[in-house]
Symmetry: C2
Subunit: 112 residues, 2 copies
């Protein structure tokens, strides 16, 4: 089972919607980097049970994002905020009307 | 049953996680402003069935927000973006270092 950075990100967003055991297995596997066997020992379930729990959790996390798309929306906003910050840093070094307009346009494009 | 603006907002965020019939009843009730009886006729279920479906949907929507808090987070970001836009509009009228700094600080406070 390949560890996937996207799962960690999705888990930060939607993890609270998972069942408690799924939250435990995903956290131990992705955040604490334990092996399936180590998790099995710790939670007193079979290695296959751990694998199934993580697999189901991953599928749920992907389905939440497919339905809601909130992580994608957040990431777009984050990018825009970094852009605004960097444009404003330029302005701190010297005034430029065009840069001000870019900040306005970026902020506008990000709110509804 | 009181119609609640918060439900409409929550539905925009999390509606896709509800069952299809719940999505239908909530949409007809909150967006299309039909009465329980009209919805019952249209979906060919009882008036009580409509009421129960909407109630369950409302509880789920509240629980999603309670667990994930994404609507609140989005709203905070929206407010910040409006603030940035308004600060940048001020800059378009005249340069002020303090305003530039406020834009930088606001953008920083909104991304992770």
């Amino acid at each position: 089972m390949e560890k996937n950075i996207e799962i960690s990100l999705l888990f930060d967003f939607y993890g609270q919607l998972l069942k408690e055991q799924q939250q435990q297995t995903v956290t131990l596997y992705y955040n604490d980097d334990l092996s399936l066997s180590e998790i099995a020992d710790q939670l007193n379930i079979t290695r296959q049970g751990v694998r199934d729990s993580i697999k189901r959790a991953e599928n749920l996390l992907f389905s939440y994002e497919e339905k809601l798309g909130l992580m994608k929306r957040f990431q777009k906003t984050e990018m825009g905020l970094y852009k605004i910050e960097s444009l404003a840093e330029e302005l701190a070094d010297g005034y430029d009307k065009n840069t001000v307009q870019q900040i306005i346009d970026t902020a506008k494009s990000l709110h509804e």
